[in-house]
């Protein structure tokens, strides 16, 4: 048992991934059995026993504990895997064999699953025997969709993060969702009219008029969705190919949809769920486009193979190559030299103008002669030309149009824009706060929205420099825009939601400028402190009877000290207070930005925006904290019954607070560049980063103290302003609710993004749908008359598609009605007709044959 694990410890991760799925399937099956047994709950001995054993009329509780236990076990496996992985000393093929496996899922083409190294061995054997023997078969050329996992430092860290944060949030949910365990839950935000209109359809019990909607608690269902989500997210993290990522990507998307719409009786929740799903589809369309291009041109979706295909090898048989780990652009060689139409010759562009290449060279995974090969380069021993067959397999040289390669990168990034809520697809994330708060913490702050950032990091070698610049700018715009909106929001969760958008923008910005480690380090630290912040807000909301508005709150710090203190830690962490986890990552991001801007002064905005935003971050986070926890209660009704949450909820807060403080520590603690987590991540950094951004990396070390100083100064300014306005002056409720100036309204309305989208996309779509419906179908009243066409004369409708199709039937019908008259039933008539017809026919025959 243990040998099996220690031979391939990567399987720990597979088990860890499958555990939440086990919980999900178990709960699903148990729920189905209970539902089937329900009709027999009164009589029928065995079935009734099963029914009551599975929870009976009460919402399921056991499943939730099962799910939490599975998640905790997954976290234990994740941490164990992380320790094992960091201690692993094997390298090369041994390492790959221990930490990655892959199986074919759907195979297209020749059925030969021989891996390339086996083929190489065969080739050597053949050479030893002497070349007069038959040569070995050609290397496999078939393409396959695969399932597989590959663990590297990034995967190990993110896996541990997801499982740990997930477990803590599961535990928190046990407390937060407590009222869902009741057989009847009253939803204060849904009025009775929902019940009246839907009672017939859903068969839900109706309650006396004028009250709130009542329904069964959904404790089990909540954990069911959470488990499925965790499985999908973990599967996304360990996946070794783009297609598996895409499958998990859609699964987390649908879990997000379910959980945003958890209170689906609330109209706003249903709308928000739809919005999140549809906006994400826009991104996924781009993602799918990227996948299709990769599949068509690269012939594989495996990350490692794709990287080896587009990036030049480090060395060939004659020594190191100048193009090592770079994208190599080539151009079509002179057409006259092309002998065959099925083979095109490509050539390196003139040395002084590498961007003249219109195509991107694709390198073979297995060389035709494994012991000797020539890479591309300008030296004499290297080749400057290569031949690419039209149907190049993964073991041939090939070429793809460079613009398509850029489109592929942009497509993949569009998927990340949708998932990570970047401008212009950011509008769904704040609305997603309609879901229960633990969901906001787990999915819409800590893990799922980070999937986009993770994917950018994972597929980094596939992104052309142009795409990276787009990523940097999108990130910069997002982080600034979201932060400005967060300045004025009054809903506690919406402030956090916009702050999430903003922090994700920071990550994207860093990735786009070559700060691979900085961006992904921020992903990890942000996951912990943002989960902490959301859970704290959940604790506040829980104790204030689901009041989410910051304005009536105040002075809660005295009533719930643990929540207030842990949230303060989270706030400090996100602001980048020294020695807390956020400090390390944010400093790294800003120093990357400063170094990049130093080298490319034309992109000044890429440093100016994050620097300003650092101040705004501190302002809005402290504004939130001061408004909620300090001063006097502004609305006695909201605050009088506020109390500290039970231990099951505060414990995760404390643990997350510890992580938020210490997760990025290294030795010495006060040195940003000594962060242990950053060093771990650095080992997973693609080689292409150092190649493309070498100058930035060097500069980063020079300027990081300056950048850190700027970040800290900005944070202090923001904090001071917030302190002045919201602590020293402690505003009254009237001041807070008063309408502000025009710019204030502009920010409150979120830069009018929703309005603009509504006017430019949503309304035209609805109009188009209406027009289509009008063209397609006549109205119901007329349609009804079609059914009575046999009695009444038919009404033809030539103006709609539906009417046009019906008209064909109607015409046939009326023709039949007329022909009925011919069949009189009179024998004599038939005979006469027969005789006359025969006569006429014979006459015709006589005339025609004359």
């Amino acid at each position: 048992m243990f040998d099996w694990f220690f031979a391939t410890p990567g399987r720990l991760y597979v088990v860890g991934t499958l555990l939440p799925l086990v919980a999900f399937v178990g709960m699903l099956v148990a729920g189905a059995i209970r539902g089937l047994c329900r009709p027999f709950r009164q009589e029928g001995k065995f079935l009734a026993t099963v029914y009551w054993a599975l929870g009976g009329d009460q919402p399921v509780k056991g499943g939730a504990y099962l799910a939490t236990a599975c998640m905790a076990l997954a976290a234990a496996l994740g941490l164990a895997g992380l320790v094992l992985f960091l201690q692993d000393t094997t390298t090369g093929k041994d390492h790959a064999a221990r930490w990655s496996e892959r199986v074919d899922w759907i195979r297209l083409g020749a059925f030969d699953s021989t891996p390339p190294h086996i083929w190489e061995e065969r080739y050597y054997d053949w050479q030893k025997q002497g070349t007069h023997h038959e040569p070995p078969p050609a290397p496999p050329t078939a393409v396959a969709l695969e399932l597989g996992y590959r663990i590297d430092h990034l995967t190990a860290v993110v896996f541990a993060m997801v499982t740990v944060v997930g477990t803590l949030i599961f535990v928190f949910s046990l407390g937060y969702m407590r009222e869902e365990t009741q057989a009847q839950v009253e939803d204060h935000q849904v009025d009775q009219h929902y019940d009246e209109t839907n009672a017939a359809a859903h068969g839900s019990p109706s309650s006396p008029h004028g009250q709130h909607f009542r329904r069964r608690g959904r404790f089990g269902r909540f954990f069911l969705y959470l488990s499925l989500f965790c499985f999908s997210m973990l599967n996304l993290v360990i996946a070794d190919n783009l297609f598996q990522v895409f499958v998990s990507w859609e699964l987390v998307g649908v879990c997000s949809f379910f959980l945003i719409g958890f209170y689906y009786e609330r109209k706003s929740a249903a709308w928000a769920a739809n919005k999140a799903f549809i906006v994400n589809r826009v991104g996924d369309a781009g993602f799918l486009l990227g996948i299709v291009i990769a599949w068509t041109y690269l012939g594989t979706l495996n990350f490692e193979e794709m990287n080896r295909r587009v990036r030049s090898p480090v060395e060939d048989s004659h020594g190191p190559l100048a193009f090592a780990n770079q994208l190599v652009r080539v151009q079509v060689a002179d057409a006259d030299t092309t002998k065959s139409e099925s083979i095109t010759k490509f050539r390196l562009p003139p040395k002084d103008d590498p961007t003249a290449g219109t195509h991107l060279a694709l390198f073979p995974l297995a060389w035709e002669t494994p012991d000797h090969y020539h890479g591309l380069g300008y030296k004499r021993s290297q080749e400057q030309e290569f031949l690419a067959p039209v149907n190049a397999t993964i073991n041939d040289f090939g070429a793809m149009p460079y613009w398509l390669f850029v489109v592929m990168g942009l497509g993949i990034f569009l998927g990340c824009i949708g998932k990570s809520a970047q401008v212009p697809l950011h509008t769904w994330l704040p609305d997603a706060m309609e879901g229960p708060t633990p969901v906001s913490a787990l999915i819409h702050a800590a893990t799922m929205v980070a999937a986009g950032v993770y994917l950018v990091g994972r597929s980094y070698a596939l992104l052309a420099p142009e795409v990276l610049l787009v990523i940097a700018y999108i990130g910069a715009v997002t982080l600034f825009m979201s932060a400005t909106i967060a300045l004025v929001q009054t809903d506690i969760k919406r402030v956090l939601a916009y702050s999430t958008c903003s922090q994700l923008g920071f990550m994207m910005l860093a990735l786009g400028m070559g700060g691979w480690v900085a961006g992904l380090l921020h992903l990890i630290t942000h996951a912990f402190f943002k989960a902490l912040l959301f859970l704290c807000s959940g604790s506040v909301i829980h104790s204030c009877h689901h009041e989410q508005d910051l304005r009536p709150m105040g002075g809660l710090g005295r009533k719930m000290p643990i929540t207030a203190f842990t949230m303060l830690i989270g706030v400090l962490a996100i602001c980048g207070a020294p020695l807390l986890s956020g400090w390390y990552s944010k400093d790294m991001i800003l120093s990357v930005a400063l170094a990049y801007v130093w080298l490319h002064p034309e992109h000044l905005l890429l440093f100016a925006l994050p620097a300003v935003t650092a101040a705004m971050t501190a302002y809005y986070m402290f504004r939130l904290w001061f408004l909620a926890f300090t001063g006097q209660p502004r609305d006695a009704h909201v605050c009088e019954q506020a109390h500290e949450s039970p231990t099951v909820m505060t414990l995760p807060l404390v643990v997350l607070a510890l992580f938020s403080v210490a997760v990025a520590w290294g030795w010495p603690v006060w040195e940003v560049e000594a962060s242990a987590l950053a060093h771990v991540l650095e080992k997973a950094e693609p080689a292409s980063v150092s190649v493309a951004f070498y100058a930035v990396k060097v500069k980063e070390h020079e300027v990081h103290r300056l950048a850190g100083g700027i970040a800290l100064g900005a944070a202090v300014i923001g904090t001071a302003v917030a302190f002045h306005f919201f602590y020293r002056r402690s505003p009254t409720l009237a001041e807070l609710t008063a309408p502000g100036p025009a710019w204030y309204t502009f920010l409150v309305r979120k830069w009018y993004c929703d309005e603009v989208y509504d006017a430019t996309v949503v309304q035209p779509t609805i109009q188009l749908a209406r027009i289509s419906a009008a063209v397609d179908k006549r109205d119901v009243e007329e349609a009804a008359s079609v059914e009575t066409a046999a009695i009444a004369p038919p009404r033809y409708d030539w103006s709609t598609l539906d009417g046009l199709l019906s008209a064909v039937g109607q015409l046939m019908s009326s023709l039949g009605a007329r022909l009925r008259a011919v069949q009189t039933g009179l024998l004599r008539f038939y005979v006469t007709a027969l005789a006359l017809t025969a006569t006429v026919l014979l006459a015709m025959l006589a005339v025609l044959t004359r």
């Binding site: 069949q823 009189t824 039933g825 009179l826 024998l827 004599r828 005979v831 005789a835």
Partner: protein, 104 residues
């Protein structure tokens, strides 16, 4: 017989046939219709024997067919009369115009 040739036979046959069809088309009495049918059959018989007589290749076949038609006509008359009787029993008439029960 050889002197007058085939044509008068065919003309007589055609005349009988026309009479039969007219009788079937015009008469409302079912028995009269049956008589019309007999005329039609016999016109066909006349045709057959005439061709048998004047075409050496069909000397035997024409006569055999004629005999067969006579047998068929007898059977047909028996069945048709039975139908007419039944119709009379049910409708108290032998008017074919009344027989419209199966009209669509």
């Amino acid at each position: 017989m050889n002197d007058i040739g085939l044509t008068p036979f065919l003309m007589l046959s055609g005349f009988l046939f026309a009479c039969g069809v007219t009788c079937v088309a015009v008469k409302r009495n079912a028995v009269a219709v049956l008589m019309g049918v007999e005329l039609i059959l016999n016109s066909a018989n006349l045709n057959l024997v005439a061709f048998a007589r004047f075409t050496p290749a069909f000397r035997l076949e024409g006569q055999v067919f004629t005999l067969m038609v006579i047998v068929l006509a007898a059977a047909e008359a028996a069945i048709a009369l039975a139908i007419i009787l039944n119709f009379y029993n049910n409708h108290a008439t032998v008017d074919v115009d009344e027989a419209t029960d199966l009209k669509g």
